[in-house]
């Protein structure tokens, strides 16, 4: 991070990233909030048998924050995966666009806010981003994934392999 290097160059990854990013977030110890990280765990195992052009990378975190905008640089597709108390069961999949919502400057950004940070800090067109919001019911500390949430997770994983990877991330 030499002083004479332009800031924009410092923001970019030091090596080319995988073309597809799957970012699941949530607290693994808060009941159905574990849907995001658990999705990543299982999708990673499933994707090991797939040839994804440009490669695929899986990340998990507790919640989204400004630095995740940097994780989007150089991707063709990013898939955010989160538990949702509002999504219809078993899940909802939507396109994500940059938007100045009220999660900006909070301890936990929305996917749209992450894209907005990308637009404002990184600049240029972001990758295509999709949000897989898996229906969750209970978010108590120390609880396991519920039965309904587990079924929703299965459906979301099947959709991910069939629709997202093959259409957007795959051959």
């Amino acid at each position: 991070m030499e002083a004479d290097v332009p800031l924009d160059d410092l923001l970019r990854p030091r090596s080319p990233p995988a073309a597809v990013l799957v970012l699941g977030y949530g607290n693994p110890s808060r009941g159905d909030d574990a849907l995001g990280p658990t999705f990543v765990e299982r999708a990673r195992a499933a994707a090991a048998h797939l040839e994804v052009p440009g490669g695929i990378e899986f990340l998990t975190d507790f919640q989204l924050q400004v630095e995740h905008a940097l994780d989007l640089i150089g991707r063709r597709l990013a898939v955010f995966v989160d538990a949702s108390a509002d999504a219809p069961a078993p899940f909802a999949c939507s396109e994500v666009a940059a938007r100045r919502d009220d999660s900006h400057s909070s301890h936990a950004l929305s996917p749209s806010a992450v894209l907005q940070v990308y637009a404002d800090v990184v600049g240029g067109p972001p990758p295509r981003c999709r949000l897989l919001a898996i229906r969750g019911e209970s978010f108590e500390l120390g609880a396991d994934l519920g039965t309904a949430a587990t079924a929703n997770l299965d459906a979301a994983l099947e959709f991910f392999a069939r629709e997202i990877l093959r259409q957007d991330g795959g051959p």
Binding site: D32, V66, D82, S84, A85, D101, H107, A133, F139, L141
Partner: protein, 490 residues
């Protein structure tokens, strides 16, 4: 007991305004304001849903799982819990003194966390208010506004945060849910490759941190009337202080001063914290109210965090931050600075100190050493205390003969600041809201005061649809007069 504006003398006939939860503050927080028909403030309370069930979550587990499991308590400062729990468990396994490598690797992890946490707070949570003013248009008063008007600040903020997280990843083993700190030490030291990577960038990080101190100092000095008075109140202060009186975020003894800077206690071994601190329960809040036992709840409450730490220590053991501390102390004119907005100034001094400390640790050969763990005679009780980004954090455990945790008590930083935050918003309510029409900008004044403390409500549950900001105006008869809701959907 009750403080001024804590409880209305005649709540009947008052209008209740609820800000629920507080935006830009994690988890579930709610501010309620009770106004009379003329708009005069009669009651102000900050309610926070605390760590309900956390003790139960930990009890029944073997002690060696605790340093990893406690990271699940909080999505914002998991490293703080990881290290405070490790220090407590160190006592249980008889590791009274860690190996030099273990202590330095833990310190590196912790100072990396301080750097990234303080960077996020200043550059992304608070600078929108500080740069644009509390009454500015909402769209400008967020990081988008900062990025548009000050693109370098936003970029440097992201890069500072990223650097701190890289320090955490390299010392804890993973980006989240790290396992680096274990009972009695660490399970890894810094590899030569990681050390070289961090060393390459650290000088730039120190430079940017120094710029940040100068920026907040400039803002403070440009408008001292506002910065010195906004939400300000006098109180005791408390923090860990290094054994030589130095600012130390990782280890030391407890020191408390009164509002004039006179020592209340000093050199207190935190294993005995319960002899010095008590917690009061109030019926209207889940969060307890800690106080210094000898002074009682009315006079014994205190503030923790950057503003307390920078003034409680005798010196800062890195040169650039020490020079800034001296200037800060001079600004106080011989007394303690109690301005709530001075938290930001003190926080940036701490960020600079963190960057300098990381630099020093990276130049220390012990950081890549191989002697990682120590152990001694096991005990059944241990207390671990660190200075987390938001203030003093206590972890206290007892284990049985089967090494299973039977007792757990946590006093987190935000709990330590509970009364202080309530005081601050009462001052703001009296000054800015009394007798005036409620507006978005005025309500934001309340939030600005809370944000200065950088509270972590530690609710890592963030599922979509769970984070609305709701403002309710309820009439004297209990009916809903008006409601304003902000949520992720905008």
């Amino acid at each position: 007991m009750a403080f001024e504006l804590e409880t209305a003398a005649h709540p009947e006939g008052l209008t209740r305004v609820a800000i629920d939860p507080v935006s830009r503050v994690e988890g579930h927080g709610k501010v309620t304001l009770m106004l009379d028909e003329a708009g005069h403030v009669h009651q102000v309370r900050l309610h926070i849903v605390e760590f309900r069930g956390f003790e139960k979550f930990i009890q029944g587990r073997p002690y060696w799982e605790v340093p990893v499991m406690v990271q699940r308590l909080c999505g914002i400062c998991p490293v703080s819990h990881h290290l405070a729990a490790s220090k407590a468990i160190d006592m249980i396994v008889g590791a009274k003194r860690l190996t030099p490598t273990a202590e330095k690797v833990r310190r590196l992890m912790h100072y990396g966390q301080m750097l990234q946490s303080h960077a996020l707070h200043f550059f992304h949570l608070s600078s929108p208010d500080l740069l644009f003013g509390f009454d500015s248009e909402v769209g400008a008063r967020n990081i988008v506004g900062v990025a548009a008007a000050h693109p370098d600040i936003a970029k440097k903020g992201v890069l500072l945060r990223k650097y701190g997280q890289e320090v955490i990843r390299m010392t804890a083993g993973k980006r989240v849910h790290g396992t680096g700190s274990i009972p009695g030490g660490v399970n890894r030291s810094l590899s030569a490759e990681d050390r070289a990577t961090l060393l390459k960038d650290i000088y730039q990080i120190v430079s940017w941190s120094r710029e940040a101190v100068h920026l907040i100092k400039k803002l403070h000095l440009a408008n001292p009337a506002l910065y010195n008075s906004f939400g300000s109140f006098r109180s005791n202060i408390m923090s860990l202080v290094g054994n030589d009186g130095a600012l130390d975020f990782y280890h030391g003894t407890l020191r408390a001063r009164d509002d004039n800077g006179k020592l209340i206690f000093d050199n207190v071994d935190y294993q005995n914290y319960r002899q010095y601190l008590s917690e009061e329960v109030k019926p209207w809040s889940y969060m307890k109210f800690p106080f210094i036992t000898s002074l009682g709840p009315e006079a014994g409450w205190y503030k923790v965090g950057p503003l307390a730490r920078v003034q409680n220590c005798d010196f800062i053991p890195t040169p650039l931050a020490e020079a800034e501390r001296r200037e800060f102390v001079d600004f106080g004119g011989g007394g303690l600075v109690h301005a709530t907005l001075a938290y930001h100034w003190a926080r940036m001094i701490e960020m600079l100190h963190s960057a300098e400390t990381i630099k020093d640790l990276l130049h220390d050969e012990d950081i890549s050493g191989s002697d990682l763990v120590t152990e001694g005679e096991h005990e059944s009780r241990g207390v671990g205390v660190i200075e987390a980004p938001r203030g003093t954090l206590f972890h206290h455990y007892r284990v049985d003969e089967n090494d299973v945790v039977t007792f757990c008590n946590l006093i987190v930083s935000t709990t330590n600041n509970n009364q202080a935050m309530n005081e601050s918003i009462r001052q703001v309510a009296k000054r800015y809201l009394d007798g005036r029409q409620l507006t978005e900008g005025l309500l934001n004044h309340i939030e600005v005061a809370i944000r200065a403390f950088d509270p972590c409500l530690s609710c890592a549950t963030h599922a979509l649809g769970k984070m609305p900001l709701e403002v309710e105006l309820i009439g004297a008869d209990g009916s809903l007069v008006d409601r304003r809701t902000k949520g992720l959907g905008g």
